[in-house]
């Protein structure tokens, strides 16, 4: 780990370059779509004439040439300012900061549940490969993999909220209950269960399948034979020798997917009315709220980069052959 500081410094430099490219690309892409906020606002205002639209554009700086707008935007982002949403009349950063904790809570829990559950189930399936428990896990994983995520969410709501009444169906917490402290936490956790499970199920299936395949591959390697020739117990062979080697590809994929968690939860947030980033993005698209959309893109990109760096660090911890320094 000696090379940690230069490693991080190097990655930061790269991250800045990558972020700059992303900001420019996003900006151009967003502006390539037809329509602009002025049109939408004018449309919503009812009887609007061309002059009113023009006035709005002037007010928001939308009448300037594209490259000038781009320069302005990049300049403000570089200063740490993500801009101002004229639609919502609030700074973009405030809007995102409002929603970010809810999304992170949802996606990180789902990520952990998926990873732990997936690896355990995959290991179980691989150990019992060919037996009924393997077939059961494989079939369930395939189903979870193939079923649309919103449908799973709806069915879970039907079962656990509507029929059984065990868990709340939507929202972040019970509105107007006025709970505080631990009660509030419990309330939020209860609201969290179904969306986390819905979102996690898909990824759990992915990790379970990967883990199983990877273990079956590693299981036949020479060093496993060596471990067995030492007279080790089967459990020690599996957890001490096979799993640790088998988990490397899972980490790689999980690292890539971890970065997508912010954007990947739009459907689940919609189904469960979860007040997260995903829905903010969705609304921003409909309203041509460029600034918010670009802000969300920016934050997601930062998350992807952070997760990539984290993955590389975790990788060096698990696999001594990989060295941190580039």
């Amino acid at each position: 780990m000696a090379g940690l500081v230069p490693f991080l410094a190097g990655r930061m430099v790269k991250a800045v370059v990558i972020l700059f490219a992303i900001v420019v690309l996003n900006f151009l892409l967003v502006h390539a779509a037809p329509g602009d906020p002025a049109m939408v606002m004018a449309g919503e205002a009812g009887a609007a004439d061309a002059k009113f639209v023009e006035q709005l554009r002037e007010q928001f700086g939308l009448n300037k040439p594209l490259h000038e707008q781009l320069m302005t935007y990049v300049g403000t982002v570089a200063q740490g300012d993500l801009g101002f949403s004229y639609r919502q009349q609030r700074p973009v950063w405030d809007l995102i900061a409002d929603r970010l904790p809810a999304t992170l809570m949802l996606t990180l829990s789902a990520f952990v549940v998926a990873l732990v559950g997936g690896i355990l189930l995959g290991t179980l399936a691989a150990i019992n490969s060919g037996k009924w428990s393997d077939s059961a896990i494989t079939v369930v994983a395939l189903l979870a993999y193939a079923t649309p995520i919103y449908w799973v969410g709806l069915m879970l709501i039907l079962l656990f909220s509507v029929s059984l009444g065990w868990l709340p169906a939507f929202g972040f917490e019970t509105v107007g209950a006025g709970l505080t402290g631990l009660d509030r936490l419990g309330d939020i956790l209860a609201h969290l269960v179904l969306p986390v499970f819905t979102l996690g199920l898909f990824y759990m299936a992915v990790y379970a399948r990967m883990t199983r395949a990877s273990i079956l591959e590693v299981r036949d390697m020479d060093f496993v034979k060596t471990a067995r020739a030492k007279g080790l117990r089967e459990s020690r062979i599996v957890f001490g020798h096979i799993l640790r080697n088998a988990i490397l590809p899972v980490i790689t994929v999980a690292g890539v997917q971890g970065g997508h968690l912010i954007g990947g939860s739009i459907l689940v947030e919609t189904v469960f009315a979860w007040p997260g980033i995903g829905r903010l993005a969705f609304d921003a698209v409909l309203q041509r709220d460029y600034q918010v959309l670009l802000g969300i893109f920016f934050v997601s990109s930062v998350m992807v980069i952070v997760f990539n760096i984290l993955t590389d660090l975790v990788y060096t911890l698990v696999d001594p052959r990989i060295e941190v320094a580039k």
Binding site: D220, M221, D222, F223, T226, A229, G231, D319, P320, R321
Partner: protein, 585 residues
């Protein structure tokens, strides 16, 4: 009978429990000492659909304390299966023991409970595997991997275990054992890893050590060290060692007794000097006759005319582990290499792994670009040619690769594999396929092989296909990179004969890259010895082998296993007889 065995050295230990001369059957030995392992009628069945019903059939032998029993046979003879069955390592559930018993000190291992078997495994019976590069867990420190064995089989506490690990690593001759125990396997060389494997096997002072081709993947000088290590440890601890090998040179070096296996059956067993010098079974005789022997070099080659290929001051340096800003370690694979190959000449490039042999071969074929120097083919410098300009030369210089299992595209039919080259150079598809069939016949296969896929052929047959593929381009120079290393010894002889035959028939020049000096002696006119990217000695086979000038050449020659053993003259005559026949694998 004893009259013919004079060159064989005296039995290497007087204490070895050999019953001289009369030890034809294992039982006569067994009466003298209680055997450590007593295998009676062992039968291991293969799953349905395998090429034969049994991997091992009705196998009976014993392993005594304080002896090295070499189990010899070609791939698929069931020797490894026997070892794996002893350790309970057969790939369950497809391959299983279906008959016989295996007694360890009088107790049948096969009827023991899993717990009892685990106690034996790594405790009383330990095993060393063939491939040191993959036999260690890449993610665990080597010390921890050795300690694991101690933790399972002994009641030593943590400190005592750590001390024992260091002691073991010292015993197997590793430098800085305390530091080394904290290293990960990837930091160690192949020889060092094999020493770690041996240390691991010895951790609990086993009675029986099973070594499954422990030196096959190692360089010849490393092999020598490991053989010496196993021998000295065996003598010190009076262990019974079951040493599995395919190499009769190694057998001659290390064995007290020899068991020869073929197709899962034991065909001959007896004291080493008897099996080596007066083999009775035809298969043993055939195997021994196939053993390449370095004394046997070819007549001097008279160079005539201009050199076909000349390498001038070729340099190649690899940067390993370097990056964007950081400078990596430099590995010199070519250091001022000069070499000439004349028409019809076979130049052997010998050396240990990492000496840069393959780098030179690949540079000549144009698969790699040296940093500096010239490679002149018929006077034209190949280096510095653009891709398009180099293209015509690809016809002239063809390569045969080492691994016949990996070098043929498994999704293509053999006929397509062979004809692809000519077709790429504008040959009519139909004509190319007809030519492919002719070439298959030339290399000793049936023309109908063209319609089959590579996986339907054995290793030797695949290497014949590889040769046919190279010949399809009508090359004048063939670069053969370890073409027989992956093959069994009897198949090896056939492929070498084929190469020799073709070379004469087509007047080919050849660069023959090999790590095996015995093979080089058989096929090469000129030998170049490489070490760390440098050619340290080059000259006619006769002088390099007969009167080596460089220290390193002498070390290499000295490390050839079983050099004190002369192949019985009658068998050499038998081989000469084989040569006339020339039968395909």
């Amino acid at each position: 009978m004893t009259g013919t065995v004079t060159p064989f050295p005296a039995p290497r230990r007087a204490s070895a429990p050999q019953t001289e001369g009369s030890a034809m059957s294992p039982s006569s030995v067994a009466t003298a000492v209680e055997p450590l392992l007593d295998v009676r009628g062992l039968t291991i069945s293969l799953p349905d659909g395998a090429d034969r019903p049994y991997a091992v059939e009705n196998l009976t032998f014993t392993l005594n304390p304080n002896e090295i029993l070499c189990v010899v046979g070609e791939s698929g003879s069931g020797k490894s299966m026997t070892a794996h069955a002893t350790m309970g390592l057969l790939p369950k559930p497809h391959v299983k023991v279906t008959g016989g018993e295996l007694l360890f000190r009088g107790h049948n291992v096969f009827t023991m409970s899993e717990t009892e078997q685990r106690a034996l495994r790594g405790g009383r019976i330990a095993m060393v595997f063939q491939e040191p590069m993959t036999a260690l867990n890449p993610l665990k420190k080597v010390g921890d991997q050795i300690e694991e064995s101690l933790r399972v089989h002994t009641s030593l506490d943590k400190a005592a275990r750590a001390a024992r690990v260091v002691e073991l690593l010292t015993q197997v001759g590793l430098p800085n054992p305390a530091d080394l125990s904290k290293s990960y396997p990837f930091r160690l060389s192949g020889g060092q890893r094999q020493r770690v494997m041996i240390a691991m096997a010895l951790a609990c002072e086993p009675d029986v050590l099973i070594a499954d081709e422990p030196t096959t993947a190692l360089d010849v000088t490393t092999q020598k060290q490991i053989l010496e290590l196993i021998r000295s440890i065996q003598a010190e601890r009076h262990m019974g060692v079951m040493f599995i090998t395919h190499d009769f040179g190694v057998v001659a070096e290390i064995a007290d007794r020899v068991a020869v296996m073929q197709h899962g059956k034991l065909v001959e067993i007896g004291p080493a000097r008897q099996v080596l010098n007066a083999p009775t079974h035809p298969y043993t005789r055939h195997l021994i006759a196939s053993v390449p022997h370095y004394i046997e070099h070819r007549a001097d080659f008279t160079k005539s005319g201009d050199a076909l290929l000349e390498a001038r001051n070729v340099n190649k340096v690899f940067n390993v582990g370097g990056g964007f800003l950081r400078k990596g370690r430099q590995v010199v694979a070519g250091d001022d290499i000069c070499l000439t190959i004349h028409p019809g000449e076979t130049v052997g490039l010998v050396g240990e792994s990492g000496s840069g042999k393959s780098t030179l071969g690949r540079s000549i074929v144009g698969l790699m670009t040296p940093n500096s120097g010239q490679i002149l083919f018929k006077g034209q410098n190949l280096l510095g040619l653009k891709r398009r300009e180099f293209r015509p030369f690809r016809r002239d210089i063809q390569m045969v690769f080492q691994d016949p299992y990996a070098s043929l595209n498994p999704r293509h039919k053999v006929g397509d594999i062979i004809s692809q080259g000519p077709v790429a150079f504008g040959e009519d598809k139909g004509k190319a396929l007809t030519r492919a069939r002719e070439l298959l016949q030339l290399v000793g296969l049936d023309g109908s092989a063209a319609d089959r896929y590579p996986h339907q052929f054995s290793g030797g047959q695949r290497q014949r296909i590889s040769i046919a593929r190279a010949l399809a381009m009508d090359p004048t120079l063939l670069v053969a990179d370890e073409p027989v290393s992956a093959l069994d010894v009897s198949v090896q002889t056939q492929v070498l004969k084929l190469l020799d035959d073709i070379r004469h028939r087509l007047n080919l020049s050849m660069l023959f890259i090999t790590h095996d000096l015995r093979v080089a002696a058989q096929v090469c006119d000129t030998i170049a010895v490489m070490r760390r990217g440098k050619i340290v000695e080059i000259g006619p086979s006769r002088s390099v082998f007969g009167d080596p000038q460089h220290e390193y050449t002498r070390t290499l020659l000295d490390a050839i296993p079983g050099k004190a053993w002369e192949i019985p003259a009658e068998l050499l005559a038998e081989r000469a007889g084989h040569s006339a026949g020339g039968h395909p694998s």
